[in-house]
């Protein structure tokens, strides 16, 4: 899609402003009653309980036991975050969670005609219910340490038709660690650079250049890079038929741009780009 830069920025700004306000109003305080979301509950049960707000205590409990699921009713699309095992014991899967997820989905629901859940949804890689959500987002994978069950769960998920977007890991050391792990999932498929003319870059918005999106802390520090990750890359793993299964955003942090889009000090160009990329990923994943 072609549009003038100003118009695009204005449109995304408008959407982001509404999204931030909406998320803030919807997010309950810590004194609100905690949601009832036991492991094993499905979409139907969640629907019956209604759309509960986010509770940080529940999130922490979820981190400890490694599962959390909060789909908000029977929607066509759930922004689903992969819960994976990390090497240092810290649940890096939950970085930016759930604020980034909610803000991003609010924008998505306003910008495109999609029936998307406005809430976060996190599922373990070794949970069979992951197959209920054909779109998966994972970040901070530089410390990922997959169990055999997670490897098999992710492999089967992707071979069945799931789509995984990787985000927010930086530098050669984290790349090497991630590559070693993802090789266990797909030893037979190479990781290749996704060319800029690939359909994923213009599924909805036309992306002409892969921009490096900084984490907010780094931006305040005056740089867009971390470690030795000076250049952003979008790489992919394709299946035997050339279908994109895994989209890897390396040396960039789209999630932070979604999370901090409401901060005036965070440049709009990064948020706009991150939202456009994210929407492209979703629409591509739902149609290709």
């Amino acid at each position: 899609m072609r549009s003038s830069g100003l118009a695009r920025i204005a449109l995304v700004t408008l959407a982001l402003s509404g999204a931030v306000l909406g998320v803030r109003l919807a997010t309950p305080s810590i004194s609100d009653p905690p949601p009832v979301a036991p492991p094993g509950s499905g979409i139907m049960a969640e629907q019956q309980r209604g759309q509960q707000g986010f509770d940080p205590r529940e999130m922490l409990r979820g981190r400890r036991r490694g599962t959390l699921q909060q789909p908000g009713g029977p929607h066509e699309f759930y922004f689903t975050r992969a819960i994976y095992s990390s090497g240092w014991g810290w649940s890096r899967w939950a970085t930016d969670y759930p604020k980034a997820d909610r803000q991003f989905m609010t924008v998505v629901n306003r910008l495109i005609d999609i029936d998307g859940s406005p809430y976060e949804n996190a599922v373990r890689l070794d949970d069979p219910r992951i197959r209920d959500f054909p779109f998966l987002y994972a970040l901070e994978v530089g410390d990922i340490s997959l169990s055999q069950a997670e490897i098999e769960g992710l492999r089967n998920y992707l071979l069945a038709g799931g789509f995984l977007v990787i985000d927010d890991f930086w530098g050669s050391w984290e790349w090497a660690a991630f590559e070693q792990q993802i090789r266990q999932v797909f030893p037979e498929h190479p990781i290749v650079e996704v060319p800029i003319d690939h359909p994923v870059f213009n599924a909805v918005y036309r992306i002409d250049e892969v921009m490096q999106v900084p984490a907010i802390g780094n931006y305040w520090g005056g740089r867009t890079w971390e470690r030795d990750g000076y250049e952003a890359h979008v790489r992919g793993i394709f299946d035997d038929k050339g279908r994109l299964m895994v989209l890897i955003n390396w040396n960039t942090d789209l999630g932070d741009a979604w999370e901090w889009a409401e901060r005036p000090e965070y440049p709009l160009k990064f948020s706009t780009f991150a939202v456009e990329m994210g929407i492209n990923f979703i629409v591509y994943a739902m149609s290709h």
Binding site: D113, M286, S287
Partner: protein, 759 residues
Amino acid sequence: MLDALFELFFKYRPLIFEQGDFAFRAPWTGGLAVAAAVAAGVLTWRSYAQVRGNSRPLDRVVLAVVRLAAFAMLAFCLMRPVLVLSSVVPQQNFLGVLIDDSRSMRIADRDETPRLQFVQDQLATPEGDLRAALNERFALRFFSFSSETDRLDVVDELGFDGTRTHLGQALARAHDELSDVPLSGLVVVTDGADNAGGELEEALLPIQAAGVPIFSVGLGRESYERDIELGRVETPRRVLRGSALVTDVVVTHRGYAGRPVTIQVEDEGRIVGSENVTLLRDGELQTVRLRFTAGEAGPRLFTFRVSPQQGEMVTQNNVRETLIAVDDRRDKVLYFEGEPRFEVKFLRRAVEDDENLQVAILQRTAENKFMRFNVDGPDDLAGGFPRTRAELFQYRGLILGSIEANYFTPDQLRMISDFVNHRGGGLLMLGSRRSFAEGGYAGTPVADVLPVVVGEPRGDGEDGFFVEVAVETTRAGATHASTQIADTEELSVARWRELPPITIVNPVTEVKPGATTLLTAADSDLVVLAFQRYGAGKSMAFPVQDSWTWQMHADIAVDDMTHETYWRRLLRWLIDGVPDQVVTELPQDRVQPGEPATILASVGDANFEELNNSVVLASVTHPNGEFTDLPMEWTAQRDGEYRATFTPSTEGFYEVRVEALADDELLGEDVTYLQVAPSDAEFHDSTLRASLLERLAEETGGRFYTAETASSLADEIQYVGGGVTVVEEHDLWDMPILLLLLASLVLGEWSFRRFRGLA
């Protein structure tokens, strides 16, 4: 035997009584005698009335009645009753003798004697009894008939190798040839097979009008003791390559009830499907469903076969052949989706390996923003959903996803209706928050087309309707081609039960009259898949919003092909039989060498309006590579219908390619195939069809005979036949039965008197 007994008592055979008119031929003295008999009767009555003695009144009545009966019989005889009937003049009349020369005459179904033996014994030589008897009275003209009818000079040269029996044609030909001579009738010696199709009634009319009786001699048995026959096989004339076919084969048998047999289908010698069945009761029609795939493109001859069983009388009818034109082309289906949905992705994945399906996708991502996939070029669907009929009608199928009715203009809604009704396309509506009632389709032309009743939305409050259901097949769905997701019917039904539940947001519970439900929710009355024929096309409703669950769910193995199989078969069935602008049709796709073949073509413009002024040309490619161009003419019987005829001379497959032009623009072309081969019809339904032959005789005033009764044929034609005749009178007064009756009456009176002691 009965006839002989009858003749013994009544002096003549029954035929004479049937044909003759009753009359009295008494001279004037006869009247006097009758008057005397009447007077005697009156006197008798009076005398019995006056006599008393020791007799009771009942005795006098009995005696009077017996005496009067005797007088009445005498009076009857004195009146000289006769039968008046016409009889052909010997050697003044012709008789046509038509002898069946087809292969079915070789069937040895009477004491292991072939049917043709009767011909050889009775008619082949002048010494044959029947021929000699006929020869005494008539001038005989012999004809042989099978697929052709020929005059026959030497009867014993018959080869009995005809591959088809055109009984009507034979009767018409013989009648024509003998129309200028005094004709006593036509004798047809046959087993009664007529597999020409519809010619008989037409041929009979002039024969009936001319009053020529037909004398039919039926050979063979009306049923076999032991035989298995493959009857009707119903297959489509053309399919897409790779299509899964579900074909019904009708099996009948005698003498093998309870026996397990295997029915196979072969594609040019390679077994592509089989089904084991246990034969039902004798004579019962048994429908066997065979599944196979049309894997190779071009004219494919599929052979259905059941192995010959021990003791079978006719094994040639264990085989049926059917010609299917297998097209290797990409048929276009338009999938219009109103929002990003995973159905798009997984439907694309399901059919992407199907080289014969092109699912062009138009997907709305935001208001007036569309994505296009699998389109023909940069301009294809660039303006969104087609706005003209010509643009929409280029597709064979149309899938409507989550797109609300309000998106379309009123004309576009009518256009979608016309796509099915007029163009003959296939429409499929998917479940979603913006389809069916939830999409506002109630009262629209699209709702009229759909096989389900579209009412007002029935949601549960603001959240709308939402339910998770397991799916099961209906009785129709268990066998329908679109819902076959496993190799056999049983496996397919079981597989449907195993599939993980899907979700429905459109509470569709009612199908329209004439529609068929194929899939339902297991525990509710929700319709999951239904179809109906509508106008020239068909429509389907699949109110499921996430069939991708059958691909993605954790219970489904990653290499499972159920989801792919379902969508491919569903879409192929949806567009099966959808016509092009130019459609070629052969009323008979199999003819014999030398038999004319008719080519019909339907021609329409881009809007599928019939055109009567097109230039239509049929190019026929012979098996040896030669071409024949045949200009086709408008039939003037139906709009847009053109016809040409040609007569193939050699066996093999003929490619018939029809092209149509209008205003120097090619409207389209269509290819079909003609098989030229000897017919296999002779051994199917090859038992003696006595009912047909009896009807022939009855409707023309003739008589029906079997091999056993044919000896009386010559005598009877003498009185039944037409031509040059004379009137004969046959006296009845001297019939033995009358003498016996008279004697019985007199003896009876005497015995009664003795018994009662009256005399």
